[in-house]
Structures are given as C-alpha cells and as structure tokens.
C-alpha cells in the first residue's frame, strides 16, 4: 500500500486510538504523580439521632482556596509509586537490612500488597497461558476430526465457556465449590475430610482460579486454531501419511509448525488478558487468598473514600508490567518483520 493511502486508511482508527487509548493513559500518568491537597482538619461537634459527639471534619473554607490555586492537587512525584501500597521501596530495603534469613525476607515481601498481588498475577498468567493454548489446540484437533454433521454442535458447546459472562461463569463455579456445593462436597468426600473447604484453603483457591482461567479462555484459543486448521494444505498431511508418520507425528511436525504464528498471536493476547485477571477473584470472593493488580485498582476505587492517585499508580504499573511481559514477543515479531522486508 502506498504511504498516502495507508495514512488516510489508518486516520480514523488512529484518531480513535489517540482519543480513547493514548489520552486516558496520559491522564492516568498525570493522576499518579499528583495527590489530593493536605486536608485542613478541625474539631467540631456533630449531633444526630444518637446524641452529640466531638469529631473532626475538613475545614472546607481553608481547603477551597488551595484547591482553586492548584486544581490538580499537590505534586508528589514518585512518592505514591514508592509507598507501601505500591513498590514499597522503604519497607523492602528495611527488610533486606534486618531479615536474618532469605525466608524471612520473602515473608515480608509477600506481606506487601503489591508483591502479593504480583505473585498471584504472574503465577496465574504463566500457568494459564500455556495450559489454555494446549487445551485449545487439543479441542481444535478433536473437533476438526469429527464428522461434518457434528461439527456445528461441537463448536457451539466448545465456545460456551467464552459465551458465558465471566462474572456469571465464576459465580456458578463459586457455588459449585462451596463446602455445601456439589464439587466442594465431592472433593471433601474424595479426600475423606468433612472439614475440607476449597474456599478456606489458599492453595486450593489458587488452583480453582487457575482452572477457571483455563476453562474460560480455552475457547478463544480453540476458535483461532480451528480457523488455522482450515488453511492447512491437505497435500502436506497426505505426504506425511505416505512417509508413514503417525497421527502424533503429523501433529508435531506438520500441524503445529503451520499454526505457530497463531500460537504467538494467542499467547500475546492471553498474556495481556491474564495479567489483568479480575472477574474470577471478584466472583470467587477470593480476595482473602489471591489478589491481582486489577483487583487492587478496583479495591482502591470501591472504598468509602476513593483513592484515585493510588489506583492510577497501580494502573501505570500494570501497563508497565504488560509491556515487560510482551517485550520478548514484540521484539521477535519486529525482527521477523525486518528480515521479511529484505
């Protein structure tokens, strides 16, 4: 395509991306380096149905002038990035200096909200992504080998987990793994331990979340791979068959190499998605056992006093996290593009 044609072709998309992606990111970055003004607090007498008490409140007149002068709030630079709720630099260096063993240091580290969330987020991302790719591929191969009469039905049922709204899907599973639910009861019967509860155990909760993650995202991988299988040239498979390749060898040496670009694509999208895991944690009410970066953002915004700056900071850190995770794949794609151009 000519550069000029490309420019006009891309302009509407580019404008929309600028307005709805770039500008909000700029706004979030600005918000993360500003915090609300120092509150001027005064003691007042409050009265209500239950009598009077002396309490404190914000002196609005004193604060109004400061707000007028600096509507963005006070500039705090990277203070919020470095505080305990985020990178916790002070707490970590103190723990490094005082901890007598590595184990003690890890204990302190994973007691900090950001690192605890990061630990689960990364575990979730790196177990779910490969597992759902493998499962998606297996389903695609299985459906592809079905008789054409059954294919439509099989595709529909394979897609169901993705069609179900994530929050509803996780709620249904949440009820099933309840200690009085069907799966919860079954597991406690298998383990022969009537007190066993999935929701009360951190490792079992992590496993449930990861299983949910694979279950809900595998259909995406399946659809992509299934579409890819339709473009597989039949002569290659026939050639492999004539050479005496077994079914597994055909998959290993013909099908998978053919689908490799799609695997990269699915991995890219799913790493991004899984790094932002939120719905299952909310749906499973799992925050006592597992938190994620997105959960921290929602929690900061959902309290009675909203912490906009803290939420903005976690958002920026999430964007950086996604960028770091995707960088190897992006670098490779860029290299392929460069070598392809020659």
């Amino acid at each position: 395509m000519k550069h000029k044609t490309f420019f006009w072709f891309f302009l509407p998309t580019g404008l929309a991306m600028f307005m709805f992606i770039a500008l909000p990111i700029v706004s979030v970055v600005i918000q993360s380096v500003y915090a609300p003004h120092e509150a001027v607090i005064i003691e007042v007498e409050n009265c209500g149905p239950f009598g009077c008490t002396t309490e404190t409140t914000i002196d609005q007149e004193a604060t109004a002038a400061v707000r007028e002068a600096q509507p963005l709030g006070r500039f705090v630079g990277l203070d919020i990035y470095l505080d305990r709720a985020h990178l916790a630099v002070g707490e970590i260096s103190e723990a490094w200096a005082t901890a007598s063993s590595m184990g003690e240091f890890w204990d302190v580290l994973f007691n900090l909200p950001f690192y605890r969330a990061l630990a689960f987020t990364l575990t979730y991302t790196f177990i779910c992504t490969p597992a759902l790719i493998a499962l998606g591929l297996a389903i695609a191969l299985a459906v592809n080998s079905l008789h054409r009469h059954f294919k439509g039905l099989a595709i529909f049922f394979s897609l169901l987990p993705m069609i179900v709204t994530p929050l509803i899907g996780s709620l249904i599973l949440f009820w099933m793994i309840d200690s009085r639910g069907i799966l919860g009861n079954f597991i406690s019967y298998l383990a022969d331990d009537p007190d066993l509860s999935l929701k009360a155990s951190t490792p079992l909760m992590w496993i449930s979340l990861i299983v949910y993650g694979i279950w809900s995202s595998a259909p995406f991988a399946f659809v992509v791979f299934y579409a890819g299988l339709q473009t597989l040239p039949s002569d290659q498979i026939e050639a492999a068959q004539i050479d005496g390749a077994s079914r597994w060898e055909q998959v290993r040496y013909v099908v998978i190499p053919h689908l490799m670009p799609l695997v990269t694509f699915v991995a890219l999208i799913q790493i991004m998605d899984n790094f932002k895991v939120l719905e299952p944690i909310i749906g499973f009410q799992a925050s006592a056992h597992a938190t994620s970066l997105s959960w921290i953002i929602v929690n900061d915004l959902g309290g009675e006093t909203r912490q906009l700056s803290a939420a903005a900071t976690t958002s920026v850190l999430t964007i950086l996290g996604v960028a770091i995770l995707l960088s190897p794949v992006l670098v490779r794609t860029w290299r392929d593009f460069k070598s392809g151009a020659h």
Partner: protein, 411 residues
C-alpha cells in the same frame, strides 16, 4: 385505535394515582429532583414517596453501587443528583469533597414535619436529615437454645459457650454465622469488637491510627475464637450468605443487621422451625465491658451544593414529603426502624432499639475512617487464616492506612 385506548388507559391510571397521592398529602414542587441512593426496601419506599410530588420531574437512581456514583454525580455544576441518600459512614465522602449544602434555612422554611433528632448537624449546621436507624445485634434460634438448655447470650463469651453446647449436642456442626467476608464486612466485625473492648480507632483529635493496641489484639482473638464455630467458608460469607446459612437451618446464633431482621425468614422455602424459632436480642458486650460490641447507624438524605436554590428547595420539599409521619402504615412500618414521629417499633425492630438504648457508639463520622476501614478489610484476613499473628496483622493495617492517609493528605 389500539394505541389510543392504551394511552387513554394509561392516562386514567395516572390520574387515579395522582388523586390517590393527593388524598395523602399535597406535595407541590417547582423544579427537578434527582435522587441517588441504596436499593433496600425502606429506601425504595422513600424514593417512591418522593415521586408523588407534582410540578417537577422526580427521578430516582437506587442501586447498590450508589457510593461509586453519588460523589461524581454531585461534583459537576450543575450536579446530576440533587439529593443523595447516605449513611453516617458515607456522608463523609460527600463532606470531604464539599458537594452538599447546609440545610438550616430550608429546615426553618419547610421542616415543620421533622423532629429535632432527625437533623444531623455538623459544626452547628444541618447537613442531612435522618429517617431510619440501623445496628447489628444478636439473632438467635430460641428453639435450639432451649434444646441445649441455654439462655440467649448477652456477651460474646456466653455466645462461645452456647455454640460449644450446640456442637456437643450434635444439633449443628457450625452453630455461629455472621458477615465475616474478607473486606468491608470483616473490618466492620472488627470495629464492633474493638469498640466493645473499649478501643478507639484514632489517637484523640488526630488522624494517627490507634488499632495496634491491646484492645485490637483482644478483638482479633475473640473473632478467631468465634470463627472456630463457623462454616469453614466464613471468609466468603457476606450478610446475604450468612442469612442463607440461617434460613438453611445451619446456624443458631449470629450478629446481624437490624435492617435485615424483618425479612430474614421471609424467603420462600424457609423451614417452619427456622421461622418459628428465630428471635431477636440486643447487641452483645465483650470482655466484661459495658459498651456493646456494635455500632449505631442512621440513613438519611442530603441536598447537593452545585444546584440552583429552586432545585434545592424542590428537593427538600419532595424528600421531606417522602418521610412525612403519615407515610407510616402497616406495609411500610416493618421495613425499617424509622426515626419518624409516630413510629411504633415492631417485634423485629427491638434489636436496634436495644442497641440505641444500651448507648452503643455510633459509627465514627470522621474524614479518614473510610481509609482505615478499607485497610482493616484488606489486612485482617491473613490473621483469620492463621497466616500471621494478631500483632503483625494490626501492624500491617496501620502501615496500609498510613500510606493511604498520606496520599489523601490527612497525615
């Protein structure tokens, strides 16, 4: 033709309700009214009553997510919402951002139907009008307690004894339930227990946290002791789940919200023994203290600052009309413990009444209380699961709160 008939029928129906409304009390307003608030039945009633007013459009947006939208919806100029229905905890967020107006002049002009104790004054100015009270208190199964020969507990220590008896007798494996879900609910149970032991959340007159104290540790230890008698999933049980446990005949004692008492056993399929056996008690004390381990709450309405005086006046008239004394009838009275003149407490309201009489401490109306509540909700689950000591959990709470309070400019 069909359309015309339908339109006519609608118009007739509308006139009918208007006449009905006029029959109750006239409510004339001259500007728009827009209400945002929570969605439980008592508030639905208030919203519907306000919509009886004539002369201006009255819209309501009643949703469980009201706290997420009321502040942004009142920050604009003109504000989207002319009134927000809030509680003593959530008025603070509106006060902090200065989006509600003092009501003294409107009370003088149109407030003849309001009684003095409905007016919430902050620093001498009326900032909200309360219409209902709420508190957590004991709910127990009289039949189960009788079976094991126990009196209804008056303290948390007695509650543990009763629970042990019920378990020993083999009636229920986990006789205690409650709203212990990690997050807001767990933090609220801590607040109750902490105040019951005589703790105070902040160092007097400052925003410095004061929960890592002897009272805090005792409060956590009592919560842990209670949790031994709860369903192992208790950290995921909010009020809804706790009430479901109750209706399923799985629990016999709990500390529950008064606002849920009226409808606790109403759900379809509730066993008859649960309906007959459920009884209300007052709030419990703990550690031989006098102060109940509970908090008092009010729900009320405010008027936005960034609206015209006409809209403010219309809002005040409509909302006062919505909570006028003669709105109380057989249908509305049991919905809440109304703070309205002429309200007669029903059987199910006695828990909240007992809480108010036992000089329970109102939930603190402090600008930074919400931040401490959030910090408690995030950090206490580790202790409940036995992952860390009470001291460490409370140290984490204070550290998390301090980071948040520094960000918001309170420290």
């Amino acid at each position: 033709m069909y359309f015309k008939t339908v339109a006519l029928a609608g118009a007739v129906a509308l006139t009918g309700t208007m006449a009905f409304a006029d029959g109750h009390a006239a409510c004339e307003i001259g500007a728009r009214v827009s209400i945002v608030g929570n969605e439980f039945p008592a508030i639905q009633t208030v919203g519907a009553n306000a919509q009886e007013c004539q002369g201006g459009e009255v819209t309501t947006n009643l949703t469980a997510d009201h706290q997420k939208i009321n502040l942004p919806g009142m920050q604009g100029n003109p504000a989207e919402y002319t009134t927000a229905i809030i509680a003593n905890s959530s008025i603070v967020a509106l006060m902090n951002d200065d989006v509600i107006r003092p009501l003294d002049d409107l009370v003088a002009k149109h407030g003849e139907g309001l009684s003095k104790n409905q007016l919430i004054t902050i620093n001498g100015q009326v900032m909200a009008v309360a219409f209902m009270a709420n508190a957590q208190h004991l709910v127990y199964r009289a039949d189960v307690l009788e079976q094991v020969g126990a009196e209804p507990p008056a303290t948390y220590e007695e509650m543990l004894d009763v629970a042990a008896k019920i378990r020993e007798a083999g009636i229920m494996e986990n006789p205690i339930t409650g709203a212990y879900a990690a997050g807001w609910n767990l933090a609220q149970e801590f607040n109750n227990m902490f105040l019951g032991f005589g703790g105070s959340h902040f160092k007097a007159g400052t925003a410095e946290p004061n929960v890592n104290t002897e009272e805090g540790i005792k409060a956590l230890e009592m919560m842990k002791a209670l949790s031994e008698y709860m369903n192992p999933d208790y950290l995921t049980h909010d009020s809804n789940a706790a009430n479901a446990e109750w209706r399923a005949n799985n629990a016999a004692i709990m500390n529950m919200w008064g606002s849920r008492a009226a409808v606790l056993t109403e759900a379809e399929g509730t066993p008859q023994e649960v309906i007959d056996g459920t009884a209300m008690g007052g709030p419990l004390t703990v550690g031989s203290g006098d102060t109940p381990a509970s908090t008092l709450w009010w729900d009320g309405w405010t008027v936005a600052k960034n609206i015209s005086d006409e809209e403010a006046e219309a809002t005040f008239i409509a909302m006062t009309h919505a909570i006028r004394p003669d709105m109380l009838n057989e249908e509305t009275s049991p919905l809440a413990v109304w703070l309205i003149d002429g309200y007669e407490p029903t059987e199910k309201a006695q828990g909240v009444f007992a809480a108010a009489q036992a000089s329970t401490i109102p939930y603190p109306m402090l600008p930074y209380m919400g931040l401490l509540h959030t910090a408690l909700g995030n950090e206490l689950a580790d202790f409940m699961q036995g992952k860390e000591s009470a001291e460490q959990a409370l140290k984490d709470v204070e550290a998390a709160y301090i980071a948040a309070a520094k960000e918001k400019g309170f420290l």
